[in-house]
């Protein structure tokens, strides 16, 4: 235990490591905030950059960037409606309406505090529950990932706006977009119309940038003459009472985040979406209706995606299995630094676990500090006249799309989806479901196929699979209940049933 504490405090007492974590967190916030620059990319670049460094130093920097980056995505989501990273998509849904109401400062403040709390829950789970959570996460079979994806897709119902039908159409279009490209299972090109440029598929970040950034900018031109909203920048740091009021939701969302983050096939983006869905279903009296600036709609995804950071480290540090894309790159970095990530990592390099926990904790505190400073300045971005802001948003979107893969193709996609998204928006189709479909479609489809292959294409076998495993069965019941709740049948049913909770 004493040893553990020593490892935990390594970065707290060593000024250089302390500085690296701080620098990483600060850099991470900006990497996360700029669409197209991703934490995965930043950490990859750092591999070469830190080649000759000591492993601990490299790790300190990477962990800081990771923690800051996941949080940073919320900045642009709130201020400009462009999620800086996919994990912030759900944040934009209520964050941007808040900015339009003149509460960008408060929104950022609340986001920062719940991100900190969520991050903290994730770290606690990592520190004290890692081996157990890791073993449970391995029990998730393809069929369970499929059901998780379907659960996420149900969110379409709450993102559809005026017409559920249009939401379903939009979500299905998104899934179709995700299917474009080479199907690695069969080595067959799909929906490419014979073009080899489409073999790589359409990057979902490009779709996200187009649909949120460019389409939003075009829609905003409708009201180009309207006066800008004055931002209230007093009390940007949320009062304790506010935090306490949201605490139960923060904790529930964090639990979702840890769990989704710890699953090897899913990361913060999906965690945030599922937490948003959970908030929408569980909060009876939000501060405002969801989608129109409910603080609950900010709290849930932001707590979840930062909790997912600690979650993603759980399988990585205990089993050498990456919990998401960033931890996959960190694993590669460890190999290059001569370590052997795997189930024996904690045996071979005993300091690594508590050292990482210590770095995460430190980064989490820096996140709070850096996040809460400069809010007033950032909130002013929304007050920049649209005539200046919107063109800049477009240029940022274009650069961001280019940066995903250094390719103009992604720029063309972003612009194409921007214009298409504008048309859809004008005719009452919401764009959230499209992006949801692009992100979740592959999880549902590939895992459905895996399950089907495993039961040798028998539908009876498939249904049997769904009811004969405990985890699967629970997920299935969850989905059925969730669907039932949305139908007119539910009020009558629930009136007859005794209330369990």
């Amino acid at each position: 235990m004493e040893k553990a504490l020593g490892y935990f405090l390594m970065s707290w007492v060593d000024p250089y490591l302390f500085f690296l974590v701080a620098l990483g967190t600060l850099a991470g916030i900006y990497v996360g905030a700029i669409p197209g620059l991703s934490v995965t990319m930043a950490v990859s670049i750092l591999i070469s950059f830190t080649y000759a460094w000591d492993t601990n130093e490299a790790l300190a920097l990477m962990v800081g960037i990771y923690m800051g980056g996941v949080y940073g995505g919320s900045r642009t989501a709130i201020l400009l409606n462009i999620p800086g990273a996919p994990a912030a998509i759900a944040t934009a849904l209520d964050g941007y309406p808040l900015a339009k109401l003149g509460e960008a400062g408060r929104a950022i403040g609340v986001t920062t505090v719940v991100s900190f709390l969520g991050g903290f829950v994730g770290i606690l789970a990592l520190a004290f529950g890692a081996p157990l959570v890791a073993e449970i996460s391995l029990m998730f079979a393809p069929r369970d990932y499929m059901l998780l994806g379907i659960m996420g897709l149900l969110l379409v119902a709450s993102l559809s706006g005026e017409s559920l039908l249009k939401g379903v159409i939009a979500g299905a279009l998104g899934i179709l977009v995700s299917m474009v490209g080479l199907d690695t299972m069969s080595a067959q090109p799909r929906l490419t119309f014979g073009s080899s440029a489409l073999l790589g598929g359409v990057s979902y970040v490009a779709v996200m940038i187009g649909m949120f950034g460019i389409a939003e900018a075009l829609v905003q031109l409708h009201t180009i003459g309207a006066p800008v909203v004055k931002q209230r920048v007093d009390r940007v740091v949320p009062a304790l009472s506010t935090v306490l009021r949201h605490l139960p939701l923060t904790l529930r969302a964090s639990a979702i985040g840890v769990w989704i983050g710890a699953l090897p096939g899913t990361g913060g983006d999906i965690a945030a979406l599922m937490a948003y869905d959970h908030a929408k279903k569980s909060v009876k009296n939000p501060s405002r209706p969801f989608g129109q600036g409910a603080y609950e709609g900010l709290v849930a995804p932001e707590a979840a995606n930062n909790a997912a950071v600690g979650g993603a480290f759980i399988p990585m540090l205990t089993l050498g299995i990456p919990g998401d894309a960033v931890t996959a790159v960190i694993i590669a970095a460890l190999f290059i630094h001569g370590l052997r990530p795997g189930p024996n990592l904690m045996v071979d390099t005993p300091h690594l676990f508590w050292f990482t926990v210590g770095n995460l904790t430190l980064a989490n505190f820096f996140l709070l500090v850096f996040g809460l400073t400069g809010i007033r300045l950032f909130a002013k971005i929304v007050e920049v006249p649209k005539a200046i802001l919107l063109p800049i948003v477009v240029v940022l979107s274009v650069v961001g799309a280019y940066a995903i893969n250094n390719s103009l193709t992604d720029v063309y996609w972003a612009v194409g989806f921007g214009i298409f998204g504008y048309v859809l928006r004008v005719y009452g189709y919401q764009l959230g479901p499209v992006v949801l479909g692009v992100i979740l479609g592959p999880i549902v489809e590939s895992n459905f196929r895996r399950t089907m292959i495993a039961v040798r294409e028998s539908w009876t076998g498939f249904l049997l699979e769904l009811v004969s495993h405990p985890i699967t069965f629970v997920l299935l019941i969850g989905i059925l209940l969730s669907v039932l709740r949305g139908t007119p049948l539910w009020p009558r049913l629930s009136a007859r049933l005794p209330r369990p909770f």
């Binding site: 700029i34 159409i169 179709l176 075009l218 063109p391 250094n406 214009i419 196929r449």
Partner: protein, 160 residues
Amino acid sequence: MTPSRPRRPGELGLTLLLIGSAFLLGREAYRISGFAGPSSPGFGPLAVVAVVLGGLAIELLRILRRRPPEREPLAVRVRRIGHEILPLPVLVAMALLVAYVTALEPLGFVSSSILFLTAAMLFLLRGPLSRRLLLAVPVATGTVAAIRLLFQELFQVLLP
């Protein structure tokens, strides 16, 4: 959602266009592996296209039940579309955007972005031309310089 709401201009056209594209996608999806088993690569795309087509068919019925737009002079109609669907600023912005993206490769990122930003701001800002120029040119140059520094120098993204 009430059926009595009159049709919006272009509503029918968009739905028909989407249906047409969905059929094209359906044909492309069928070409992957035909109607094979549920784990075949073509199954998912075909199933999703079916959902899209089903949804669009219902949407089409809903639109057809709505009151068709009243006959009105072309000029009025164009103005109405302009107001509701494609206001002039949007149309110009789209044109600028397309021009910008096409110019990215031949002109390079820096010049095309400065041109786009300046043009877009000149068009969107109000006031005398000299004042607009005085604002647009420095802001455009500054933004592009900052972006280039950040992306190319720090993040090693080789901009076109």
